[in-house]
């Protein structure tokens, strides 16, 4: 990606298609035939309650799991086709951040470039600083992940993903365990990246505010199936009782006057 392309916000995302994806663990079906497409440069959010199979789906798209049936196409090429994983750059931001605890923040962010020997050490250092600054993390390069807050760890994980110059970023519960302010920052970063580098983003979350805030299109996943796919407005207007229940669920304080 050139600086000019970055400046013009030229789209360089990839098209992702998931066709008839099925997966079972020990005979228990987790994905029951998933079909959807994500357009280049789109922010596609898959929302759903915990345990609905969202993370398993994401792991299939990045190639960490092998499906029992179905396929994943990147720009029309099956993920299993030799060379596809090398041809298209993909990155994943894990729910926990998954930073390497034995490395400093700077080493974590530069790991991809260092291990693949893509740049000289001075150049790697410059890129790492640039990415950290982009995410508002100036001056923490020498710290270890254990010294960071949850929000900072998530942003470092995004910086690490950006170093790959990805055409597809997968976010797994990017706002879980974060306070509302940090969650807003992460949401802004997802939108900023879309605007700046035109990356295709696939976000898995059960955070309704984030989902409706960043999504171009939304899908609702429930018990291994997609109940609906559409724009945020269309999902909001859905008559599906499960979607309605998920979207309208709110904490209702009960009377505990008889409690000790």
């Amino acid at each position: 990606m050139t600086d000019a392309a970055l400046a013009t916000g030229q789209s360089r995302g990839v098209r992702v298609a998931v066709r008839g994806l099925r997966k079972s663990y020990d005979g228990v079906p987790v994905l029951k035939g998933i079909d959807f497409e994500v357009e280049p440069g789109e922010v596609f959010v898959i929302m759903g309650p915990s345990g609905s199979g969202k993370t398993v789906l994401l792991k299939h798209i990045i190639g960490l799991e092998t499906p029992d049936a179905g396929e994943i196409l990147i720009e029309g090429h099956p993920l299993t086709e030799p060379g596809v994983m090398d041809r298209y750059r993909m990155a994943m931001v894990f729910q926990s951040g998954a930073l390497l605890n034995s490395l400093t923040v700077a080493e974590n962010v530069g790991l991809y470039l260092t291990e693949h020997r893509l740049k000289k050490p001075a150049e790697i250092q410059r890129i790492v600083q640039e990415k950290l600054e982009l995410l508002g993390l100036r001056g923490i390069g020498d710290r270890y992940p254990s010294e960071l807050s949850g929000g900072m760890r998530k942003r470092v994980a995004i910086a690490r993903a950006l170093v790959i110059e990805p055409q597809l970023i997968l976010y797994d519960e990017p706002t879980s365990e974060l306070d509302p302010l940090s969650a807003v920052v992460i949401g802004h970063e997802i939108l900023n990246l879309k605007r700046r580098i035109g990356v295709t983003s696939l976000v898995i979350t059960h955070d309704r505010d984030l989902a409706f805030g960043v999504a171009d299109r939304l899908a609702m996943m429930y018990e291994g199936q997609l109940r609906a796919i559409g724009t945020p407005e269309a999902i909001r207007r859905s008559d599906d009782p499960i979607i309605r229940r998920f979207l309208s669920a709110e904490f209702q304080p009960t009377d505990h006057s008889d409690a000790p």
Binding site: K59, I62, G63, L64, M85, D86, M90, A91, M92, F94, Q95, S96, A98, L99, L100, N101, S102, L111, Y112, E115, H116, R117, R160, I164
Partner: protein, 248 residues
């Protein structure tokens, strides 16, 4: 059990295939060498002094009582270099270094760090297993040489100062030099090299096989150390048979 064995052989095969990339991992190999050497040198020294000492106590008192004190040096020397140093130092390293390898890789597995490596197209075998296996393959035989020398000295000291033995240093080492030759030491080093591969492979495999949280890591560490010790003791017999066959 057999599935684990198969998976370990596959992991070893992948690591052997990755050997041409060793030069890319030199920094990590140096780090691991420092970890193994730094963590183990003092322990190996203490262990070896007492191995030499207790072997001399057992054999020396009996042999001296039968007027055979002149052969103590050879007997202790050969026992240490062919059997005791390679086996006991390997067991020590399995407990000290093998457990650390399993805990580190197991923790990375549990906390998705290995998945993160895969998403960056970084091969975990190249990044994690290769440097550890190469480092332990270099470090363990070096520690065994050190252990042999310290063990001999420990044996000689006990032979000299124990009142029931009272053998001079000269007499101990004269007999040792007459009995022990280079092939005996090489036999011990050959064993230790095989044990190093066993420790590295078992420990790394068990790390990758870790599931669950901290309790899973604990289970994996225990299993790795126990498996290493069992494999070392079983292989010790067959390697001794093999070396005796080669020697003759």
């Amino acid at each position: 059990m057999f599935r684990d064995l198969g998976q370990m052989l596959v992991l070893l095969g992948r690591t052997v295939r990755a050997l041409p990339y060793t030069f890319r991992q030199l920094e990590k190999i140096y780090q691991q060498l420092f970890e193994i050497g730094n963590a183990s040198l003092l322990m190996v020294c203490v262990l070896s002094v007492f191995i030499g000492g207790v072997t001399t106590l057992h054999t020396g008192t009996e042999l001296t009582a039968r007027g055979l004190s002149s052969v103590i040096g050879g007997l202790v020397g050969i026992a240490i270099c062919k059997e005791l140093a390679p086996t006991l130092v390997s067991i020590l390293i399995a407990g000290r270094i093998g457990s650390a390898m399993t805990a580190e890789i197991g923790s990375m597995q549990v906390y998705q760090e290995i998945d993160a490596l895969r998403t960056m197209n970084i091969n975990p075998v190249h990044y994690l297993v290769l440097p550890r296996l190469v480092a332990i393959l270099i470090a363990l035989p070096v520690l065994v040489i050190f252990s042999i020398l310290v063990g001999w000295i420990g044996g000689a000291v006990v032979a000299h100062y124990n009142q029931r033995i009272g053998l001079s240093f000269q007499a101990f080492f004269l007999n040792l030099r007459q009995v022990v030759d280079v092939t005996d030491v090489l036999g011990g080093l050959f064993k230790s090299a095989v044990f190093a591969v066993v420790i590295g492979t078992v420990a790394c495999h068990q790390g990758f096989a870790t599931v669950g949280g901290p309790r899973g890591i604990g289970r994996s560490v225990t299993k790795a150390v126990v498996n290493c010790i069992v494999f070392i003791l079983i292989l010790d017999y067959f390697l001794t048979r093999l070396w005796l066959y080669v020697e003759t």
